[in-house]
């Protein structure tokens, strides 16, 4: 016998025909084709007959077969006023009658939408960084790449030689403007008796011609023409001069030099990655500080160039690649390249010289997460709507019998989900208004809801549409496909496939939530690891005081005064923040140096008691000590440096740093002088006879208050012009991981939201199941089932789903978080307990949610539930 399934005409083709052929022609056409098929099978075999059949079906794709005969009944308008009124009435009754379910849906949806809204605003804000410059597409910053002997780029940074910008502009015709921009400076400003500390930068002369920091007063070309010119922000101008014209007025900087205000710029927008309240001329700064433009192998300030509008980036990149070597033959390990200035904020992580990531990764990550949270909320809607479909089956049946076509029912149900989404959307805008201040304080932004801009309203409409579609389309199609005969006969029951689908969705929800929980926990653990890791120097009870004014000159007397008080253990000066060293050189000379020994070594200038104050352990030798007169010409190396210099016995080795000759007096154990994203690199500490940077003081444990008073008093005596300000090393260290802290806060928020919304859905489903099984539970109780057995019965179904979600989520989360941790050179382990804990957490919360309903159901008196039988 022939297998009837295989012998028949191809199913797919048949389906296709049924789909496209006009109903009034279908019978004869399909009959004819089948008849021909039967003949073909006997003539040419099944395989060929099937092909022919398919071909024949396709040949019916002709207008006459596609064209539907117009109905003999007048068409019913889709939106008649009466029907619309009815739809709205029914939708409202459904909302009002099932308050619990409506609540779950609306709250869930609005939480999901709040998430999406806030993240959308955040992403927009991040993307807007540095995009406001009119010449944005021609602005590039110079990136310096360190080349290893193997030819690979090991490291890329924006610190460039100070001399670079001027010479680039002179020698590369494509570069029309170039400016050096220094790091942020904090300077003391004084006008008359008014004095404050202000943040500013020292920038090249082309600065205002390149960037769109609009000058309110002054000419961008000549603004730095006079020596000691100062350009200040509108804010500063108002602060110091009120409504008077600030041009030509004097401001005293650092109680030393008088500067003339030569221009005023509009306050720098929040979405600029460089922020400043004043700028001074780099060219005149360099005249007094020749070290900054001295040499091609010292990397400090950044350099930004503007290309001519007809220049090609590739050509310029090729020209400047070997620029440093061309000007200084000894610089063989550095190449230059350009990065679009407007990308610098989002793409700051380089791999092999190519910007691959940075904040953009978080932007992407959180966009996905926001979408997921919204999806979880939509799933709640889908699940509850399909689960409760039985309740509406009769309505659908009647509607169909009195003539509703499927399309009208789909419209009706989509309309209902639109109503729900609209309520949720208005609620979410309200919630966003309430939550934004908190969000802004976490992320340090000033985001507002731009309800008055058409672009935002457009995006909001898109959000509402997407949410409506995501949550409404499946229930609408599902509900409208009920067969009225079955429904009205009372023999209606949903297919088991639907229940499986719902379970799948619940598993999906919990998988997402669990992944978020695991993610948040890993971020927490890593942050904890960073903050408690022994980084090789101790940060506890250490504080930094900026060396400014007279403090540098009178450091010795300050030191003596505070040490006498017996509250300060040790005190030293360091020219940078010891956990954030930012200057490097490759100019170091030692006796056994080979021409191939070329690498950057980070620089730190310190004075006596340096190692003691920071608790840096010395492997060999000693730290700078006043007992040895020659120590002022001494150097300390870290282990990595000694290794890279191939020094077996570094102590006593002569070293030449920029002509400063001395010997190595100590070998320090490695400590982290930079963020834990980076591995420990070579470091040399030289003696700084004239203290610069910061005073670093170690306070005796438990005497913080007294010590601060002593320090303040001494500071006031020696440096009365400046207010006493200090920073704890711990806080400064934490500040370095600000973006990770933000990520941690946000990840936690999202994880909590996701699990909350998922549980809302679970709660709804559990309530529904309990309601459905009321009779069953009654019968079981009558027959002697215990309360606990009924609770188990009702809860296990849901627990299974959560357990399945744990199994799925763990490897996915492990993979993602493992990738995240790759960014850190020093990282915590992904230990099993994180997964166990998040699993337990999820199970616990789910159990709590479900058991509320199951306990309620189990405790119901069976007399009540069975009374009506």
């Amino acid at each position: 016998m022939k297998n009837s399934r295989n012998a028949g005409p191809p199913r797919l083709a048949d389906r296709l025909l049924e789909f496209f052929c006009a109903p009034h022609l279908l019978e004869e056409v399909q009959g004819d084709l089948h008849e021909r098929y039967v003949r073909d099978v006997t003539r040419m075999g099944i395989a060929k007959a099937k092909r022919t059949y398919t071909y024949n079906v396709l040949s019916f794709l002709r207008p006459f077969a596609l064209k539907r005969r117009s109905s003999e009944y007048p068409p019913i308008p889709l939106f008649s006023v009466d029907m619309l009124r009815n739809y709205i009435k029914i939708a409202w009754r459904n909302l009002a009658n099932n308050k619990a379910f409506s609540f779950i849906n609306i709250v869930g949806l609005s939480l999901g939408m709040v998430c999406s809204l806030i993240i959308y605003l955040w992403v927009q804000d991040e993307r807007k960084y540095d995009k406001f410059h009119a010449n944005g597409d021609r602005l590039y910053r110079v990136i310096v790449n360190s080349i290893e002997k193997t030819g690979e780029i090991s490291n890329s940074f924006e610190n460039s030689p100070g001399v670079l910008s001027g010479i680039l502009k002179k020698e590369i015709p494509e570069i029309s403007h170039a400016a050096t921009i220094t790091w942020e400076n904090k300077d003391r400003m004084r006008v008359g008796t008014k004095a404050t500390n202000e943040k500013g930068r020292i920038v090249g002369a082309d600065f205002f011609e390149m960037f769109s920091f609009p000058l309110l007063k002054g000419n961008p070309r000549t603004i730095f023409a006079a020596p000691n010119s100062l350009v200040i922000s509108q804010r500063l101008a108002n602060k110091y001069f009120g409504f008077a014209d600030p041009i030509g007025k004097l401001i005293r900087l650092n109680e030393k030099d008088d500067y003339v205000v030569s221009g005023v710029f509009a306050t720098v927008p929040a979405n600029s990655s460089i922020k400043f309240d004043y700028v001074r001329s780099f060219e005149s700064f360099a005249k007094n500080n020749p070290w900054i433009v001295d040499g091609w192998s010292d990397f400090g300030p950044s350099t930004v160039v503007m290309l001519r509008s007809d220049a090609s980036l590739e050509k310029v990149n090729a020209k400047i690649r070997r620029f440093l070597t061309q000007h200084d033959k000894t610089v063989t390990d550095k190449t230059l390249s350009l990065q679009p200035y407007r990308d610098q904020y989002l793409y700051s992580r380089f791999e092999n010289g190519i910007p691959v990531g940075g904040r953009i990764e978080y932007v992407r990550l959180f966009s996905v997460v926001a979408l997921f949270v919204l999806l979880i909320a939509c799933i709640n809607f889908v699940n509850l709507a399909t689960a409760r479909s039985v309740k509406r089956a009769k309505e659908i049946g009647i509607r169909k019998v009195v003539g509703a076509a499927k399309a009208y029912l789909v419209g009706q149900f989509m309309g209902e989900s639109l109503l729900m989404t609209l309520i949720a959307a208005s609620l979410s805008i309200l919630l966003s208004f309430l939550l934004l201040p908190t969000f802004n304080s976490i992320t340090g932004k000033t985001i507002e809801i731009p309800l008055d801009t058409p672009a935002f309203v457009g995006k909001l409409t898109i959000l509402v549409t997407i949410t409506t579609l995501l949550s409404g389309i499946y229930p609408a199609l599902f509900l409208s496909s009920f067969n009225p005969v079955n429904v009205l006969k009372g023999s209606f029951s949903t297919k088991p496939g639907i229940a499986t689908f719902r379970k799948g969705l619940v598993v999906f929800q919990f998988t997402l939530s669990l992944a978020l929980i695991i993610g948040a926990l890993v971020v927490y653990q890593q942050m904890n690891y960073i903050q408690t890791k022994n980084i090789g120097l101790s940060r506890e009870n250490v504080l930094y005081i900026k060396l400014e004014g007279e403090l540098g000159k009178k450091y010795e007397s300050f030191k003596q005064t505070v040490l006498q008080s017996n509250t300060i253990e040790h005190i030293t000066t360091i020219n940078t923040i010891p956990t954030d060293v930012g200057n490097a050189t490759s100019d170091l000379i030692w006796t056994t140096k080979k021409p191939t020994d070329k690498f950057s070594i980070w620089l730190m200038g310190a004075s006596y008691d340096f190692a003691k104050t920071l608790n840096i352990k010395l492997k060999e030798g000693r730290s700078f000590s006043p007992a040895f007169r020659t120590d002022t010409a001494g150097f300390l190396l870290n282990e990595v440096a000694a290794e890279r210099m191939h020094l077996k016995n570094p102590i006593g080795q002569p070293i030449d740093l920029w002509g400063k000759k001395g010997t190595v007096i100590g070998l320090m154990k490695n400590f982290h002088m930079q963020s834990l994203h980076r591995t420990i690199e070579p470091l040399i500490v030289y003696f700084e006879p004239q203290p610069r940077g910061n005073i670093v003081a170690r306070i005796q444990a438990g005497k913080t208050q007294q010590a601060l008073l002593i320090l303040q008093k001494a500071h006031k005596e020696i440096n009365p012009a400046y207010p006493f300000s200090y920073e704890f090393a711990d806080d400064a260290f934490r500040q370095q991981y600000k973006s990770e802290t933000i990520i941690r806060e946000l990840a936690t928020c999202f994880a909590v939201l996701a699990i909350l919304i998922s549980c809302l859905g679970l709660f709804g489903l559990a309530a529904f199941t309990a309601e459905q099984r009321t009779k069953e539970i009654g019968v079981r109780k009558v027959l002697g089932a215990s309360v606990s057995s009924i609770i188990t019965l009702l809860s296990t179904d849901f627990l299974k789903l959560v357990l399945l979600a744990i199994v799925i989520a763990s490897p996915i989360a492990w993979w993602i978080m493992d990738k995240w941790l790759q960014d850190f050179a020093y990282k915590t382990e992904l230990s099993w307990w994180i997964f166990a804990l998040s699993g337990l957490l999820a199970v616990g919360i789910a159990l709590l949610t479900v058991s509320f309903q199951s306990v309620k159901a189990a405790l119901t008196n069976p007399v009540k539930s069975l009374r009506s039988e």
Binding site: E27, E28, D32, H34, E35, S59, F60, R62, F64
Partner: protein, 112 residues
């Protein structure tokens, strides 16, 4: 005289319907066409022509009996209407008239 336009294929299909008399439906017409003219045409082309002819009022149709090989689906049986018959006759008359007007030596002889 009002002319009825019939395409060549339509004319042949119309004739075939007449040939098959009361058992003219899609597949049968296709087969008959194949046998009589040696033209292998697709069923869809025949259906399309039948549909057009019916719209022009030269054919009328009714559902016939179902058979097992058709999966229980009925055939649509076509019969030629008076208008169809008139059209066929017109065409034939016109052809005959033309043939009779050809002088004996005008066409090159075809020897068999």
């Amino acid at each position: 005289m009002k002319r009825t336009y019939l395409g060549e294929f339509e004319e042949i299909v119309l004739l075939t319907v007449a040939v098959l008399h009361e058992s003219a439906y899609g597949v049968a017409i296709t087969d008959e066409l194949d046998r009589q003219t040696g033209r292998s045409v697709s069923i869809s082309a025949v259906h399309a022509a039948l549909h057009r002819l019916e719209e022009k009022g030269m054919l009328k149709s009714a559902m016939g009996e179902a058979t097992a090989e058709r999966g229980g689906r009925r055939k649509r049986l076509f019969t030629v209407t008076a208008l169809g018959s008139r059209a066929l006759h017109d065409i034939r008359a016109m052809r005959d008239q033309l043939w009779s007007s050809i002088s004996p030596n005008a066409l090159p002889a075809i020897s068999i």
